[in-house]
Structures are given as C-alpha cells and as structure tokens.
Symmetry: C2
Subunit: 333 residues, 2 copies
C-alpha cells in the first residue's frame, strides 16, 4: 500500500486533462490530498491549496504522487530536481507513468540513500497465485462494458461512495493505474502475467463480511478483441454477485477498432451473464450505467428512459444523477 | 527460432512420463531429433539412437533440448556438467523447465564465453504488440476444450500432420512450452503480459496464403476459471475460421477445481461460437475431438458414436483414428 496522505504533483501539466489522475484523487479521496504542487507553466489547477514540499511535509503528506501525464514520454530534468528533493526530504513517490521511476538512475539512487520507496503502479509488486475458484464470502459487483473506456471505473467509485454515505460496508477495488493511485492500492491487471490474472483478482477481493460489497474496477470488454481476455479473468476471478452493464451511447465503433461495431446491451447481458454464472451461479445483472457526457440534459434523460424501458433494469448516468438507484438494486439482492 | 536438429537430453528421467516433451518431439518431428542422450539411472527410452554429445555433433545436431521434467525443481550438478560441456562444444540449449537456464550462473557464463544461446521457452522473447483486430488472410483452426488438458495440442498436431500428408498448406502454431520445443518456435502464451495476449496470438498467426491453414494450439478453457482469460485471447487474437471442440469424457470435475462441473459440448459450442464470431463472423464449429485414452476400444467407439449422433458433427479420437475426418470438415469450408 502507498502511504497517505499525498502531495499531488502536477508539474508543468499543459492543461486540466493532463492532470486527470490528480483530479481523480481529489474527486474521490479528497482526504488523501493535502495539496497540489505546481511548477512554472502549469496549466492545471485542482482548486486545492498550492504547497511547497516543505508545506506538504508540515501538513503530514507522506507520498508525492505524480498526478499528471508527462510530455514526450520521459521524466524531464525540471521534474527530476523536485522528485530528488522530495526523496531527500523523506517522501515516497508514486507514479502511473509509462516510463518508470525505477528506470531513472538518479531517483533510484536518491530513494536508496534516503530509505524511501518508488511505487510504479503500472507494474505488479506481488507474485499473484493461480486462481483456485473457491467461493469467497462477502459480495462483489463488477461493471462490464459494451466497449473500453465507457465509465466502468467511475461507476464503481460512485457506487462505493454511495454505499459509504448509507453506512454500508463497501470497498472499491482498483485494477488500473488511476484507481490504484486514488485508493493507494490494487492490482494493475493489464500488466499481470496471463496465467495469474484470475488469481490476482481473487487476491484483490478476498473473503469478507457477508454484507460487505467489493466494487471491482472493470477493464476492457468481452467484445473488445484486444483486451477481452483481461475482462474474462475479471469475471471468473471476481466471481461477482452482481453485474452492472456500462455503455457509451454515441460510440460508432469499438475503441481503436474501426471495423468492429459495438454490441447491443442485450448482447452484452446475454454473453456476460452465462460466463459469470460459471464462477457464481447466483450472479445477476442489476442495472445499467450509461455515460451520457456527450448528450444534452434532455437527450440524456431520453436516452436513459428508452434504455430502461427496453432492458427493464434501473438505468442511470452516475455522474449526472448519482449511483443511488444502482445501490438500491444491490440492496435488493 | 531454435535451431534444428536436436539432441534430446533425457538426463536421469525416472520414467517415460518424465520424458513427455522429448516423446512429443520424437512423435511429431522425428526429423528434428538425431538421437537421445541418457545419463546413468535414466528410466526413459524413446527408442531412437543413444548418442554422446560428440556423436550428436557429428550427426549435425545444433541444439541440446532438455526433453524431461527435472526432479525437485532445480538443475542438478550432474546435469550441469553435461550442459556446460554441450555449450563448450557449440550446442545451443533449449528448455521448458520452470527453473530457468538463465538463472544458472555457470550456464550463462559458458554460453557467453562460447557465443551460444540459452532458450528458456517458458519466457517470451518478443515484445508483442497490442492486438489490432485487423482481418488477416489465410485460414485458422483452433481447438477449444470443455476443460484444460483434454488433448487440444495433440488435436492440432494431428490435423497439421494430416494436412501435410495430403499436400495441403498447413502450419502448427504452438502456444505452450512443449509445442514450442516440438516445432522450434511459438508463443508461450500463459507467460505473456495480459495486455499483449491477443496481440501475441495475432503475431503468431500472420497473413498467409488464402488456402493455408494455421492450427493454433489451444490453451485452458472458457469454462476453467483459472485460465479462461488466456482462452479468450486465443479466440479473439486468432480470429479462427474453424473451431474443434475438445473433450475428455471421463473427467468428473474441472481440472484442479473440485467444485466445478464440466460444461456439456452444447454449452461449449454455444458459448465459444458467438465469442469467436466477434472476431470472425464466418467462424464455424467443424468437429469434435474426444480423448478416449481411458476407455476400451468398444467403449471409445460407442462414446464417439453417441456424441456424433447428438451433436451432428464429425467426432473422432485423433490418437486412435487419426484426424482425417476433421481435415475433411475443414476442406469442406
């Protein structure tokens, strides 16, 4: 686990979008972020306190989290000065960048000398077991998509937050870099060795109280030929009690695959549910999460109503309207 | 690619079963094996010429292949003497052992000094791409199982051999250690990083002549929760034109999973075919390969007849009766 709270490093992020990871932490775990550190030329602002390394340390920050995508795929000299100083002061550093902290000799040396840890959250740090398929106690919910990047992580985080508000027992279980940085732990599933994928998911969602819900972050799509194996491992390793179908209604083809049409929500339901029931015969599809970001308010309301009517399941945009109805559906199981 | 022909190293294999990999090479690519090297106490015998390293080199062998599972999971001192001498004489060494050649300092040093290569075929040696899903030319056949270890590799090798006999264009495409050692190349799919599984399968089965068949070695099972993600990646990366259902009729539960029943062949067909048609809408289930090893001749004949009658598809045991009827079915596509 990465130690919290964090100082969020925005570096010289050109715009708000480049600081997406930091934004996710601020939105979902504001208590994890004591402040932001912005360098000259930074075009992003999370609206939280600007802090120097010294300010953040005084405020209790343990880890500097790189909350930004870097330009050109390398860690610049300007960044490195800040990062080395942070290590010298006693911060750990966590990053989800493609280029790894551990490949930067100066950072490795500074971490070693100062007894600090570099967390490259894209790389597994655990030797996961092979899945054993044994039924676990507690309940699990998984969002599965008609495509990649349709709002599965957001859906899981929103359902977890709603359960927390209701005083229910609930944990968000990240399977990607952003989710891992938001919560401080998880499994970078797309970087796990094939034989251990399902075992990594079992490891991530262990036995729990009978009334506890894990919200397992979805990845890929059973219908996305590049990543369907990862989705399959989530379904079988996660042995979910509940599936939420996730969809983006304006997508014209599968992400990155211009020749592949999206499946219908019916196709997704009819494909995923039998697969899920291999690992958990009691699994149900409980609701639908639609990302209506590209629609107007009126269009979104209309889109949700039509899908709900067609599918006979609670259908929401968790960003616009919250996850209350999906949590109601889980409570009814 | 591993250089052929091989000298097959049986070491001190306690019995024939421990020499399964060497047996596979001798059965399927006898032209790849100039002889066998057996040490004192070896209880296995492939029935081919016993050779010293010197004999094998004189006979043209390029690579010493460790065709045996070693005891206790380590490479013994007695083995190491032979392996170091082989490297000094100019052999490469190839191994599918769990404990890697590259982790043995003496072997690494001897390989370096003598300019030889150590092939650990369990470990990918290529940075595979992410799958792009683009339709490829040529045809592909994939055996998919009701369970793991039901004869998928054997089925693929038998169909390839039958096509070769008929003068058809055909290649067996290994996805596991034994298959890779048999043919000299392939993808160790269970050791590939999750995000690149389907891409590795695309890499393994590239564009080819319109009348060429790839026989892609199957792995796992869509119904085996430990490995179903690997199977999924094979189906979507391989974009097969034809599926062969593989089955072992005496299995009482999924391999290693006592709480999981086997699916019926109907379940397998109805689950796998829609998934395969995402990547290749023309995909068909063409036949059934049943491993009747544990049945008498009469029981086997009866079992095959019943399944064929029930499923309406050519149903064979390729070991007992050859793959002719499966190849007939592919020719009819």
């Amino acid at each position: 686990m990465i130690q919290t709270p964090y100082l969020l490093f925005l570096g010289d992020a050109p715009d708000q979008l480049a600081a997406k990871v930091a934004q996710g932490i601020k939105d979902w775990r504001p208590e994890n972020a004591v402040g932001q550190l912005r360098m000259e030329g930074c075009g992003a602002d999370l609206g939280i306190r600007d802090m120097s390394l010294e300010d953040a340390q005084a405020a209790g920050a343990k880890t500097l989290v790189i909350g930004v995508a870097n330009r050109g795929g390398y860690i610049s000299k300007a960044w490195k000065e800040v990062l080395v100083k942070a290590l010298q002061m006693g911060f750990d550093i966590a990053s989800g960048l493609h280029n790894l902290l551990r490949d930067e000799d100066e950072l490795v040396a500074a971490a070693r000398v100062n007894g600090r840890t570099l967390f490259d959250v894209r790389i597994p740090s655990v030797a996961y077991p092979i899945a054993n398929g044994v039924k676990r106690t507690g309940k699990r919910c998984l969002a599965i998509g008609t495509d990649c990047s349709v709002g599965k992580m957001y859906t899981g985080l929103a359902m977890d937050a709603e359960m927390q508000r209701r005083g229910m027992k609930s944990t968000f279980r990240p399977t990607g870099q952003t989710g891992i940085l938001i919560t401080g732990g998880g499994v970078p599933l797309d970087a796990v060795i094939a034989d251990f994928m399902a075992g990594a998911v079992e490891y991530l969602t262990p036995d729990n109280d009978p009334d506890h819900w894990d919200h397992l972050e979805g990845q890929g799509s059973l219908f996305h030929v590049s990543y369907s194996g990862v989705t399959m491992a989530l379904i079988h390793g996660g042995q979910p009690d509940a599936l939420v179908l996730a969809h983006e209604p304006t997508r014209t083809h599968m992400r990155g695959l211009p020749d592949y049409a999206l499946p219908s929500l019916e196709d997704l339901r009819d494909t995923a549910l039998p697969m899920a029931r291999i690992a958990n015969p009691a699994c149900q599809v409980v609701g639908i999460s639609v990302n209506t970001q590209k629609l107007s308010d009126a269009e979104a309301a209309d889109c949700l109503a039509r899908i709900e009517d067609r599918m006979g399941l609670p259908t929401v945009d968790t960003f616009r309207y919250g996850a209350g109805r999906l949590v109601d559906a889980l409570q009814a199981i």
